[in-house]
């Protein structure tokens, strides 16, 4: 990505996020039942949506890596999953705060979306130890892609099973806030969603640029030390380096 597009992306992200949060606090009307605390919705739900889409996109990139054998797709898959885990931490924290604000408890087991998100999050957390436990770099990339695909298929199944368990045991008391939102709330929500999605894309680009840079550095080092230590220095890393191109 060229530096001017980088700059444009960063500015767009900041502007849209600021506009979104401005709308949240100064423009959008209070929710009728929830009042002020409903404003966490505009942060929590977009973060969750972006994180889940990122997980699924990581699976798609894993699939493309297996199909083409191109290392760049593996790097993409790694970065997507990595950032979605970071976003996932934010989702869980804001979710706990929202639960505390509206129901008086930090954790509510009746809330299927939150519980399934925790399960998905825990599963993706095993991505790092799994990657780290495989030494051979080709095999590491391939196995990580298999993990990404399996986990990507698991995400919707898990949501379905957890939601069903709740609705069968006791019917849901709280309707999802996304159903039947008034226009102004929907607009604010969409602006926030766009802002968070842009933030995700921006951070993905930053991470990829970082990977590329450290890949180049280790390539340089190997070229310089070709006789001294024959290139074993990279093998201890979890993250895929993008050494090509």
């Amino acid at each position: 990505m060229s530096s001017s597009r980088f700059k444009a992306l960063a500015i767009a992200t900041v502007v849209i996020l600021m506009v979104g949060f401005g709308l949240v606090f100064f423009w959008v009307p209070m929710d009728a039942d929830q009042g002020f605390k409903q404003k966490i919705f505009y942060l929590h739900v977009p973060l969750a949506i972006v994180a889940l889409l990122g997980f699924v996109a990581g699976g798609v990139e894993g699939f493309r890596h297996l199909r083409s054998g191109d290392r760049r797709h593996d790097a993409n898959s790694y970065v997507f999953i990595h950032l979605s885990i970071v976003f996932g931490v934010a989702v869980l924290i804001t979710g706990c705060l929202w639960a505390k604000a509206s129901w008086g408890h930090f954790w509510v087991w009746d809330e299927p979306t939150l519980v399934s998100f925790l399960i998905v999050f825990l599963m993706y957390c095993t991505y790092y130890p799994f990657r780290y436990a495989i030494e051979d770099r080709d095999r590491q990339a391939r196995y990580a892609s298999v993990f990404a695909i399996t986990a990507g298929a698991f995400v919707p199944l898990n949501f379905m099973a957890v939601r069903m368990a709740e609705s069968i045991i006791h019917p849901r008391v709280f309707a999802t806030s996304s159903g039947g939102l008034p226009g102004s709330m929907m607009f604010t929500f969409l602006v926030c969603l766009a802002g968070i999605a842009l933030l995700w894309v921006l951070l993905v680009q930053v991470e990829l640029a970082g990977k590329k840079a450290s890949g180049t550095v280790s390539r340089l080092r190997r070229a310089l030390h070709a006789d001294e230590n024959s290139g074993g220095s990279v093998s201890g890393r979890i993250a895929p380096n993008m050494e090509a191109k």
Binding site: R142, T150, A161
Partner: protein, 226 residues
């Protein structure tokens, strides 16, 4: 018989014969399960179980016993060079996946053949739910064997083999466990088996089994490449 059928039968037969002769996994799994029941008896301080508690105890025990077996299914291949042999053999590599999954399925069935009656004798006041439970057991076994084979083959080539199998498998089987306990809870009702949502849960299990059989079948090839 097509070559892959022959290979499938050969690998499955080899696995079952090895297990019969060495008895490496199954006795350990059974012992583990029975001991776990005793721990639950004192941990929960109950002499009889019913409803969702019975389902929870049964499925937790079966899950952890299954993990013991799943940990081991590829160890001999890794140590004795079975992976290299299948790479050299002129057969489709997914045959190995299917044969291993079938072997695991049979292990789990044998395990349950011993453990579920033991569970009934230990804890259940009335046994009317055991017959329909067979359908749930088969559904769960299918899911365990497809996913277990996939995870085990991923973990066996890594440094932290024994650690990774439970770590990767546990979150992945949560939906399967939800469905299995959901379906069995009503079977163990104290007043006799009832069938609330039994069919729905079986359908969830079927969907889960289908998805992971397909995923395993599709990606297994890449785990053997070298």
């Amino acid at each position: 018989m097509t070559p892959s059928r022959t290979a499938f039968a050969a690998i499955l037969g080899k696995d079952l014969r090895t297990e019969l002769r060495t008895m490496r996994s199954l006795p350990a799994m059974v012992l583990f399960a029975v001991t776990t029941f005793i721990i639950f008896r004192y941990g929960l301080d109950r002499t009889t179980l019913s409803g969702s508690l019975a389902g929870g105890v049964l499925w937790t025990t079966l899950l952890f016993a299954a993990i013991l077996g799943i940990n081991r299914i590829f160890v001999s291949e890794q140590e004795e060079g079975g992976f290299d042999a299948i790479r050299l053999a002129p057969v489709d590599r997914t045959v190995l996946f299917m044969a291993k999954a079938a072997a695991l399925f049979i292990y789990l069935c044998v395990l349950e053949l011993i453990v579920v009656p033991t569970f009934a004798v230990f804890f259940l006041p009335q046994w009317s739910g055991l017959l329909p439970l067979i359908a749930v057991l088969i559904g769960a076994n299918l899911g365990f064997s497809a996913l277990g084979t996939l995870i085990s083959s991923m973990a066996v080539n890594s440094r932290a083999r024994d650690l990774l199998v439970p770590l990767l498998l546990l979150p992945l089987v949560v939906p399967l466990m939800i469905a299995a306990t959901g379906a069995s809870a009503s079977l163990f009702d104290p007043g006799g088996a009832s069938y609330d949502d039994f069919g729905t849960w079986l359908m969830v299990m079927g969907l889960y089994d289908g998805v992971f059989c397909l995923v395993g079948y599709a990606v297994f090839d890449f785990l053997l490449e070298d």
